[in-house]
Each structure stands twice: as structure tokens, then as C-alpha cells.
Symmetry: C2
Subunit: 190 residues, 2 copies
DNA sequence: TTGACAACTTACTAACTAGTAAGTAAAATC
DNA sequence: GATTTTACTTACTAGTTAGTAAGTTGTCAA
């Protein structure tokens, strides 16, 4: 018998990886159970339903993101470095078995996932956009970022392009992902 | 007994709509059969496997796209209008029950779809990028588009952002999609 | 040392999945 | 008019799905 905290965390880790790899409809309790080395019902003991499990994955990610952005290591960076940090999150996803972002994965299947999970995804996406918008505004005021129009719209463009680029890279290779990141950077610093 | 051409086309239409709505792992032969008003096995008669069906959807879309771009109605447009036409395709998807593009839907589930289907998706994505790249080059040469770097990279950025924005709009609303399109336009015409 | 509880396993279900084999009726072909 | 072909239906299979109920075992507190 393993400590529940370890089991719960392990299950969440596996679920998160599977969501980023195969999507909500592409993984099952059996997959997690097999990889963890336990039986199907053990997963249900910790997370009664698939919706509860996936929702917990998103909630944990949201908490993690809030911790990151409020940590001095990120908070005190200059806007250009903040952006580099943000791009870095997604570069790591791409490098890690061609994973895509949770938001993109779940929004692509949005119409076939439970409503409670939809709400969690919406919350996460808003938080990502909010931070990116603030960072862009900060950089524009500081004179290091150049773009026309509102920061909110530029943030939506950049985040959408990252989300799409991670998916694109699966079919067309990692270079394409890097090209999109670099183009975003040069558009912003031009 | 209905004409095979009508049945095949109807099944392809339903499969395409379901792919854009629920994704490859989110729909079944039963869904199509129910909507078409036939039995499960009737779908298998026309398309022996789910891979064959989805591949046929993508092949048809690729052929359609080639017909469009080679038609004078698009071919003879000035670059700005070509871009408007292209954006219009995706605006219609967004307006039509919040559908997303086939490429995005299938790339999000890329690691849980058959390899033959993966190849079709790759082909389609390359064709879309190729046309967009050529259109951007044409516009840059004509002096109507402004952007730094290579056309291929800017094309990858724009297409990725559309793909992501259609997904984003499901959680955050149509306005967000329009914002991304407008930001792309103003970045390009600045 | 006992009892409670946490973390499972065993064994199961009902629903759904893609896919198949054999039969049927209407239409096209000869 | 007979035969073949097309477009199905009926009836089925083997596998997978999320989810449940009841039993088991190790750990810990009193």
C-alpha cells in the first residue's frame, strides 16, 4: 500500500501526460491503471469519474501557473524575459514526446467532454490570456514590444498561434513550431 | 435504395461535420448511421474502416481546396482579397456550430489516429501552408503586406493562430476568434 | 490488541466500439 | 425474362469503455 498523496499525484501525472498525448477521448482508466501497475478500480477510488480526474488535472495546472507567475523568478523578470519563459513552457511540451497544451487538446474535443471540464478549461484559458495581456502591456509601455491595437487581441493571437503550432508540429515537425515562436518574437520586437 | 453517389456524399458530409465537431475519437459509425437513417453496416459497405472514411474526408477536402485556389474567382484576386477569402473559410466554420478546422481537430488527436490518416492530414496542412506562403510573398512584393522574415514562417504563424483561435472560441466565444483575425490583418497591413 | 480506516483487488455490468458474414430486394445489364 | 450487381438489413462478434459492489490487507491510533 502506497501513500495516497503519492498515488494521487502519480495518477494526475499520468492523466495529464495522456491528455496532452492522446486527448480526453483517446485515453482510458485502463491505460492509467496499466502504466501505474494497479487495477482499474484503484483509479476510481481516487477519482470517481473521468470528468473528476480530468478536472483535477486542470485545477492543478491552474494552481501551478498561478504559483509560477507570482513567484519572484518570473514576476521580477523584464517583459522580454517573461515572454521567453512563457514560450519555454511550450517548447518543453514540444520536446517532451510532442505533447500539446491541455487547453488546445480539450478545446479541440470541447463538444465531446463533460460540461464541468469545459468550465475548468475556460478558466485556465482566461488566466493564461490575462497574464500574457498584462505582460504585453508592460512591454509596450516599457517600449520593448511593438504592436498595433489592444494587448488583449495581440495576446489572443500569440497564444492561439502557440496552441496551433504545437499541433502543427506533430504533422510537420519541430522546426515549424520554432518558426512560429521566432516569427512571434520578431513581429513583437520589430 | 438510393443512388450510391448520394449516399457516399451524405456519409462524407456527416463524417466531416462530426470530425469538426467531436473529433476522430468522439464520433462513431452509429452516430453517422443514426443521422443518415440507415444501419451501421451500411456505412461499412461504403467505407470499410473508420480510417478509410476519415481519409476520404480529408482527400475530398484537399481536392476541394485545390479546385478553389485554381479557380479564377480566387486566383485572380489581389493578395488582400485572397487573404480575406481564406479568413472567410474559417469564419464560416466558426459560425457553423463552432466547428474547428479538420487539420486542428486531427492534429490534436494525432497520436491516437491511424497512420494513413496522419499522412493525409500532413498533406493537407502542407498544401494550406504552401498557398498561404505564396499569397504572403505575392502581397509583400506588391507592397501591400508588411512583415519581417520569411513568408513561410509568417504563413505558419497565421495558420497556427487561426487553428488555435477556432478552438479558443469554443471556450471563450466568437469575439475572441474575430479579434485574432483582426490582429493578424492589422499586423500584416501595419 | 483491537478496531477503524485507507488503499486497494476481484469480479462484475451495461453500454458502446469497429467490424463481419449472410441474407434480401430492387435496379441495371444481358 | 434471367442473371448479375448494388445497396443495403439482420444478426452477430470480440474487444473496450466508465463505473460499481463487495471483499481484502496493511497501517495506525486508542
Amino acid at each position: 500500500m502506497v501513500k495516497i498523496e503519492n498515488s494521487k499525484r502519480t495518477i494526475l501525472n499520468l492523466a495529464e501526460a495522456l491528455l496532452q498525448d492522446k486527448g480526453f477521448n483517446g485515453f482510458s482508466y485502463a491505460h492509467i491503471a496499466a502504466e501505474f501497475g494497479v487495477k482499474n478500480a484503484a483509479i476510481h477510488y481516487h477519482f470517481p469519474s473521468k470528468e473528476a480526474l480530468a478536472s483535477a488535472v486542470i485545477r492543478r495546472y491552474r494552481e501551478r501557473f498561478q504559483l509560477w507567475i507570482n513567484n519572484a523568478r518570473v514576476k521580477d523578470l523584464v517583459p522580454e524575459k517573461k515572454l521567453d519563459w512563457f514560450f519555454g513552457i511550450y517548447s518543453e511540451m514540444r520536446a517532451d514526446q510532442g505533447k500539446i497544451c491541455l487547453v488546445g487538446s480539450l478545446e479541440a474535443e470541447f463538444n465531446s467532454i463533460p460540461v464541468g471540464l469545459q468550465a475548468e478549461v475556460e478558466g485556465l484559458h482566461k488566466e493564461l490570456l490575462k497574464w500574457l495581456e498584462a505582460t504585453l502591456s508592460e512591454g509596450k509601455t516599457a517600449g520593448v514590444f511593438n504592436f498595433t491595437g489592444q494587448s488583449a487581441n495581440k495576446a489572443a493571437l500569440i497564444l492561439s498561434s502557440i496552441q496551433g503550432a504545437l499541433q502543427m508540429a506533430r504533422a510537420l515537425g519541430t522546426k515549424k513550431f520554432r518558426d512560429v515562436i521566432e516569427q512571434n518574437r520578431s513581429d513583437l520586437l520589430a
